[in-house]
Symmetry: D2
Subunit: 287 residues, 4 copies
């Protein structure tokens, strides 16, 4: 099914087509791809009103610029918690209304694209769906910014080709996300391939997001990898935060506590400055 | 997104739920999962009438029991040949009418499930979609047998959980397919994980299909790996055959010529017998 | 440290240099690389007289042609059992005297090459040392046949280049051994890359050995993978056998019981015949 | 050959045995493991006097604290440049005499340990030899600091166990080095597993070195990954520098030019400061 790829395999996504790089407006006042680094934080899954609102308030106060939260959750097992669905989306809307944080949420299948697009400011396509051309095209047509996660066994080139599926539909608002690839060492959930960050920046004009939560699967390693991602040139970070990680319905092991997130933001300010950048100012989004 | 899995993670798929193993009728007179081994052969993609019919006639004469052929092709690039779609399905119908071979064809997205199900006797879910729960459920509800391919970075347990998505919808006609996983050695397209065959047989009652064409990506290695798969206990083989592999629109490098396929069938007879089995009799399917 | 490799990267090892293939005499009356398939069996480590002699007698009676047993064991931990050393070699000598089975044993470092070479009929270089050029050269100079195992992350080409280190010293009695590579699925110890068998046969004139014990790490999968290896074209098999696997000091999980080994030899006869070969006659080696 | 590992698998290397962390004196005035970050730079291989001295002078002036350079080179092919051997060591001595930079050089086999130890201030054990217990023990007994590189397919735990081989001999001056692991994406030479840095720091008291040159295999990615490694908590960096990378006898593609190295040191100052550390002062080593 593969084909020999030439340098011209992804003409729209290629850096050559836009040497100065793309700046993408994710919501009013929040642009990614320029000097300022954007923080996307929140729970893996929306579990309920109290959990979501507490997290949204906390990450907003700590300096996050967007709220992440899954209403539809891809799970290996049909018996695992699959997300709150429409109810989850409604809670995300409420969280946005209260905190002003725009929403990033994942869409799992074609039939719920419209439903997610009504609420989400940025639509996430998860690792499992990176190679799902039909979904990529459908999401592209919503016109919304797309956060596209690298597949667990996808090469950098395959990620760029997946992005090309979106751009070819006329939507060039794509964020490429490195989130770890499968490896042989069970000590971490995935191998966080940080070198993909500067490589993607070199090959493409699209902004690059780093997800150290999935990249490592371990809360204790997230801060170091978040700092490393900024030092490596990431334009945005995607960080899982939960009020009580041990009780989380999914991904508890990799979610930061509120305090840990606050501490991390402080560290990121310093690293961003060291590489000639800055965290985007917080509080720009008005409820 | 993962969860700790216990031995009871996939109750419907588990060997414990059906110790004697499942026999699945793929079409009238063609059952997989018993003593007889089933051969599924044909081109990667349906490219046109002449290509498809010539291949169908040849593999039928050589002893294949089902015809494979993709009308919808998942491709890494949006610019690569995506298959003939509905026209391809019509050609598959014609090939069946002429040769009597039942059809295995892949479905890529939820919106075309009905369209594929109208023609295909067995619906294939490809590697890229193994973790696509929405598609798994939708395909399950057609009631048709499902050939489920292991994802490129999926563990054996994740493949079993994906199958559980189908069984939980009331469709227990699932064939598990090993087709190679991603590895570090570019000498082969994938690492063909043959040990997954006896492992799947041990953990589950479902029949196991081996795909040495994708498993190796190299025509020169397909016969040895097809023989090995039978020796390892595979219940069926999925083999790509093309009248002119060098001119194929996809997967030419791994497609067998007609002569090579004929020679292979002869070898497989002997290996099947050596392990106490037999190839299913050819010519059972009547046009 | 790598270099671009051309087709002429391993001139001595290359099939082109000896299109008819190499036959290597491992001991009087036992040749590998021809039509007959050779069985090498025995415990992972020599643990003591009773264990070794019982195993040697059993595998000899069951049809093995050589006895394997480690006197020096490479271990990840300095606190794990490192083998009986010289005492282990003496026991191997005794086992040979009693059963007539020639000995395959591993050498771990340059300083013990002579010591191992005095006893072993075939010197094994383990996975960890495949890239150890100094050891390869030193072992080559003993003139003994070398069983060279593929490194856990070595490509097929790197294995061939490692063999070239031996041949360049004037010793062309090398057996290439596929024993599994590192993978992401903890269900098996390694990924047994069976496609490497026909690939090595195509690229090189050297005989190929398959080690399904390390390849899978699971006793329950060894018979199926041993059969598959023969079907794929292996010239020899390396099988771990132990009188009481649960009590083994190393590799118990992957060692066959005596009964399982006997049963396996019967199965291998049939598969060898199915692919136009035969197991070498047993009992040729005279004590 | 593996064994079930408990938390007490590496008692000497474990962080629990020295919670405050180890500071190791690499040469007079140069200590690693404290607040200050150490830079080790130089060519992959010593190729000749002009190449080595020019590089040594440049990296010394730019702020490096030790000079790296291989006199004995491990190569996949027996026909590739294997290093200048004793002559290379003599040149390293001269470079030290002239610039004051202490020397890091690799030892490949037991028989040359003494020879390398006479010249090198720090002895490197390369990836290929991480699991070579005999070499680890022999090098340990020199009493010299050991820079121990992670094997290409080694888990973090296996690296710690390899270090335990050195400590158990009474030498606790070990630096653990992350240098990339094998992966499926040919776009980079290895997958640089940066999460191993904080993980190793957490599990062990030993200092951690990052090698972004081998970690990526691409000069264009080295600066970003060097910055990332410092942000992730590395105690030292190992960077390949060559006066004319395109003409290098090995590893040219991943070697920095002089100018690129100078620029990188400037960037690292800023990142080190951002994470509460500093580059060790240059010029401490007096010729």
């Amino acid at each position: 099914m593969d084909e020999m790829l030439t340098g011209e395999a992804y003409p729209l996504v290629s850096r050559a087509s836009r040497p100065e790089g793309s700046r993408i407006e994710l919501a009013e006042g929040i642009t990614v791809g320029g000097r300022e680094i954007v923080l996307i934080a929140g729970p893996c899954a929306v579990e309920g009103e109290a959990q979501l609102l507490a997290t949204a308030r906390h990450v907003a106060a700590a300096g996050a610029h967007l709220l992440r939260g899954g209403a539809f959750k891809p799970r290996s097992s049909p018996y695992a918690f699959q997300g709150l669905g429409g109810e989850g989306l409604a809670l995300l809307e409420r969280a946005r209304a209260e905190t002003g944080l725009p929403i990033v949420s994942e869409v799992l299948d074609e039939t719920s694209v419209e439903q997610v697009a009504e609420v989400a400011d940025v639509i996430q396509i998860g690792s499992r769906n990176m190679g799902n051309g039909a979904l990529l095209r459908r999401v592209a047509r919503t016109g919304k910014p797309v956060l596209l996660k690298r597949g667990m066994a996808a090469t950098v080139e395959e990620l760029l080709l997946a992005a090309e599926y979106v751009l070819v539909e006329g939507n060039s608002n794509v964020l490429l996300c490195e989130r770890g690839i499968r490896g042989f060492d069970g000590a971490t959930r995935n191998v966080f391939d940080l070198a993909a960050i500067p490589l993607l920046k070199e090959l493409s004009h699209l902004p690059v997001v780093a997800d150290p939560s999935h990249g490592t699967g371990r809360r204790d390693l997230v801060p170091a990898m978040a700092r490393a991602a900024v030092a490596a040139g990431a334009d945005a970070l995607l960080i899982e935060v939960h009020p009580d990680p041990e009780a989380a319905l999914s991904d508890g092991a990799q979610s930061l506590t509120f305090d840990a997130f606050t501490a991390l933001v402080g560290e990121l300010h310093a690293v961003a400055e060291a590489v000639g950048r800055a965290l985007a100012p917080a509080g720009r989004a008005v409820p």
